[in-house]
């Protein structure tokens, strides 16, 4: 039963990934002009030089062949060459990855802690001012653009109070403000759904039975309320992982940090399409894998919830 679920889920992830990769290929074909022309024509290259460059980049081959080559290279984790820097895209991504991963992981920690705390508090003190306040914070987190809340945070904590550096990366002090800003944005959706889940769980007969048995309230809470809230938060983090990647791109820009975001934005401005495609394919891969992992973890942690969602 569970093996069948895992197998089906794996096949589904592989299929979605293949489609995504193919879409990325098609999108490149739709782009007007080609790299050899774009890069060389400006520097006054002759027709022959452009033709040579095209052959070198494999752009003169028929489309199906280009597609087969592209897939074969991807299978070998080869994302192609940057048109601008003539370097392997995979290497460029790996160089920028630690900075982005550091930001994303710390934002997940901040967002999960804050979101769970807000959601649980709101559920336990339902309809009180605390619930209203927690809900307000959650909605604000969802709506306030990180590029605005980030600037406000810099204005207050860096420029006015001087607690944190306003830009750059390096030690923990550089990391804290961006992770708080991004984590705050993430906390909104986590708080909302954790609140709903906790309210639901508290109505369950087993919680009422535990109360009736005279278990201490904190034990009821710990065992019966907190435990089911955790997989919920986990699922939302996975579902929001795409949002997190996008948010990381913006947060990096706000705080002038290195990372995949800066790489992608520069590549778009310079029309360095292999780099753009590389970052997008990499993002899709990470997103699919994270969701796969979350689904499998959930199948193991809370099999019933999975059935409900399916």
């Amino acid at each position: 039963m569970i093996a069948r679920y895992v197998g089906r889920r794996l096949a589904q992830a592989a299929f979605v990934l293949w489609l995504a990769v193919t879409l990325a290929f098609v999108a490149m074909q739709l782009t007007p002009g080609d790299p050899a022309q774009a890069l060389l024509a400006a520097s006054g290259a002759t027709e022959q030089e452009i033709a040579e460059r095209r052959a070198q980049l494999g752009l003169d081959a028929p489309l199906p062949l280009q597609y087969v080559r592209y897939i074969r290279r991807l299978a070998q984790a080869d994302l192609g060459q940057s048109w601008l820097h003539s370097r392997p895209v995979g290497q460029m991504i790996l160089e920028q990855l630690p900075a982005t991963a550091e930001l994303a992981v710390s934002a997940i920690l901040v967002g999960t802690a804050l979101g769970m705390a807000l959601g649980i508090l709101a559920a336990l003190r339902r309809s009180s001012w605390l619930d209203t306040a927690a809900t307000a914070v959650a909605v604000l987190g969802l709506s306030a653009p990180t590029y605005w809340s980030g600037l406000l945070a810099i204005l207050l904590f860096s420029l006015q109070l001087g607690w944190f550096p306003a830009a750059g990366e390096g030690d923990l002090r550089h990391l804290l403000l961006p992770s708080l800003v991004l984590g705050f944005a993430l906390a909104g959706s986590i708080a909302r759904l954790v609140r709903a889940r906790v309210l639901e769980v508290m109505e369950e007969p087993f919680v009422q039975a535990a109360r009736a048995r005279g278990l201490a309230p904190w034990r009821v809470f710990l065992v019966h309320v907190l435990r089911p809230a955790l997989p919920t938060a986990l699922t939302i983090v996975a579902l929001q992982f795409g949002f997190l990647l996008g948010g990381a791109v913006i947060t990096e820009s706000v705080f002038a940090r290195r990372g995949l975001g800066k790489l992608a934005v520069e590549a778009i401005i310079w029309r360095d399409l292999p780099v753009v495609r590389g970052v997008i394919v990499f993002g899709a891969l990470a997103y699919v894998l994270v969701n796969l992992a979350a689904d499998l973890a959930q199948a193991w942690l809370a099999p019933r919830l999975r059935e409900e969602l399916a």
Partner: protein, 277 residues
Amino acid sequence: MIKKPTPPSSSFSRQPVALAALAWLALAALGAGLASLLAPAGPLAVDTTRSLLPPGSNNPLGTDLFGRDVLTRLLWGGRWTLGMGLLGLAVTIGLGLPAGLAAGYFGGRVESVIMRLVDALLAFPGLLLAMAVVAVLGPGLGSVSIAVGLSAAPAYARVARSAALEVRAQPYVEAARALGGSEWRTIARHILPNTAAPLLAFAATQLGWVLLNGAALNFLGLGAPLGTPEWGATLNEGRGYLRDAPWVSTFPGLALTLTVLAANLLGDSLQEALQPQ
């Protein structure tokens, strides 16, 4: 007994939050629409003698580096930002609605082809997908609108599909089909009107998403050219002198946040009004 969705107006009008959200959206639209009357000098009127003035009687929200009035630019910028949002939303609905309704209504092979494509598009993180589209189309405000609209379309298609599935099972649709009405006529006459309410609610939510991410792309410098009063672009321009003139970035950011918030709250209220429990 045919179960029809309750019209949203009855419980909707009693929600103060929804009314406030609507009021703000109307105000923003009015400000943008009447910008040429309210601020006839235009968003590009430079006065270098009045650079970076704090909010005061002459310039209620201060001036930027080039002495341009921040309030004037805010009003004019609404045209760019809201225009981008509406164009984006039109793309979202234009692509997502027919795809989702067709998938839900026809089922079978049509559904599996459409939904597999939707799944693949949903495998891209939203903002990254939008960035990819901008990369293909080339930077610019038009590309940004299309890009965010397109990235929001798969989610819209998915919601449209489940709405269509629900209505399709209703007896009156079966009856229309049994009477031999053409498929597209049945969709237009029966499916579309009866899915309109939930799809309108989701459209408001998607408008919030489109605005948030469209302005983000402008903030990243992938959209409107430098100097355009679009809110995201202005936010980006103002951060260079955040310390000396925080008002240049703060006010467009506030306007944008309120607009996104209003769209989200409106979407939530509409959805709540549709599902009373």
